[in-house]
């Protein structure tokens, strides 16, 4: 499981809901960060953070990742 830069950008610009509370809260912070500085560097940082979460909680993230994979 890996979130690409393209998928990360769609998450940050979209309204996709997630079932895992921690991921949802993290995405809220990342959206704010990216809105303030929509650069490639920030996008990469946000994608890295999403992927760190995904690696750690891959079991619990299975359903949410299915939705992300369709982006």
């Amino acid at each position: 499981m890996n979130i690409t830069l393209e998928q990360a950008e769609k998450i940050l610009k979209g309204d996709l809901p997630f079932s895992l509370l921690g991921f949802s809260m993290m995405i809220a912070r990342l959206k704010n960060t990216y809105a303030k500085d929509p650069s490639q560097t920030t996008l990469q940082t946000c994608a890295d953070e999403m992927n760190s979460f995904l690696r750690k909680f891959k079991g619990a993230m299975a359903n949410d990742y299915s939705a992300i994979a369709r982006l």
Binding site: L21, G22, S24, M25, I27, N32, F53
Partner: protein
């Protein structure tokens, strides 16, 4: 479990690893041991909501790996980094302290915050009794802090999975306009109502908004509540900070708190929570004293922590 002071003391002396909630006076008299504590006189116990200044609510943990740390406002940013990789941490923060403000406004940006399992609560006092101080206690040294948070970091076995969850009986009212904030924090004057700059206090008054209902922020599918504390001279004060970039709406009204609570909790009746806490505003506005909420016994708190500070919410942890 609701216990007497002597029962809790015996458990501590016997070496049990505990989270204890009770009055400032009782917490300060407990012996040294493997425990953390926070002040409240409100509890959700088996049999219903209780207000008590002579009993303590105790949660015992079966884990061997743990640490207890205290954090002032300058150190609280390390709380998640200090947590075990596979475990969870219970953070107790004294109400209205500098560390409360620091945590509330910045927690989502703390290192590792969402890579660890962080829960906790804001300690308080009896709202009808003057002269009490919200405290957090490090039981290893029996130091009671009014200005520091205390965290119990717990390590669970590698074959166990921890999950942080919350039950929020409120949802965004689909008829509410979108309310957004450019100024962040516990107190605001202006906001954007459907994009139009508005004085929030005026909007609330002109629209007859019931401020017992919270604002509900949309966090990618999860509603996160911000409760109203007071309105003074045109400034609206909250029990948790509002943030820019979050789309808030007023909560949909609830005709019967107790019924709604039990209805929502019905689906979780087989949940075996390792720890839970619930909000004092739910307790007061829902008039829950003496009323049975079937699951999720624990302290009634002055703000709940599910990674970041939330309001009017039940927070719980499962270990499976």
């Amino acid at each position: 479990m609701f216990m007497t002071f002597d029962e809790v003391s015996k458990k501590i002396v016997g070496g049990a690893l505990l989270h204890v909630a009770g009055t400032e006076t009782l917490l300060k008299k407990l012996p040294k041991g493997s425990w953390v504590g926070g002040s409240t006189e409100y509890f959700m116990a088996k049999g219903g909501g209780k207000v008590s200044n002579d009993c303590l609510f105790v949660t015992e943990f079966p884990y061997e790996g743990f640490s207890i740390s205290s954090y002032g406002a300058a150190e609280i940013e390390n709380v998640a980094a200090d947590a075990f990789d596979n475990g969870f941490s219970i953070v107790i923060v004294p109400f209205d302290s500098a560390v409360h403000k620091k945590y509330a406004e910045n927690a989502s940006g703390f290192k590792d915050m969402f890579l660890k399992n962080i829960v906790g609560w804001i300690s308080g006092m009896n709202l009808g009794t003057s002269g009490q101080t919200p405290i957090a206690v490090d039981g290893a040294t029996t130091t009671a802090y009014a200005d520091k948070a205390v965290a119990l970091h717990l390590k669970v076995p590698d074959d166990k999975t921890v999950a942080v969850n919350m039950i929020n009986i409120f949802a965004q009212d689909e008829n509410s306009p979108v309310i957004e904030f450019e100024e962040e924090g516990f107190s605001v004057t202006k906001c954007l109502v459907d994009g139009k700059e508005t004085v929030l206090a005026d909007y609330l008054a002109q629209n007859g908004i019931d401020t017992k209902l919270p604002l509900v922020g949309n966090y990618s599918g999860h509603g996160v509540n911000i409760s109203f504390k007071s309105i003074e001279n045109g400034v609206v004060n909250f029990y948790a900070p509002v943030f820019s970039g979050i789309k808030y709406k007023m909560a949909k009204g609830i005709p019967n708190y107790e019924k709604e609570f039990n209805s929502r909790i019905e689906g979780f009746k087989d949940t075996n929570a390792a720890f839970s806490c619930n909000c004092v505003l739910n307790f007061l506005y829902g008039e829950l004293e003496g009323k049975q909420i079937d699951a999720f016994a624990g302290p009634i708190t002055f703000g709940e922590i599910a990674y970041q500070l939330v309001n009017q919410t039940l927070v719980y942890v499962t270990v499976n």
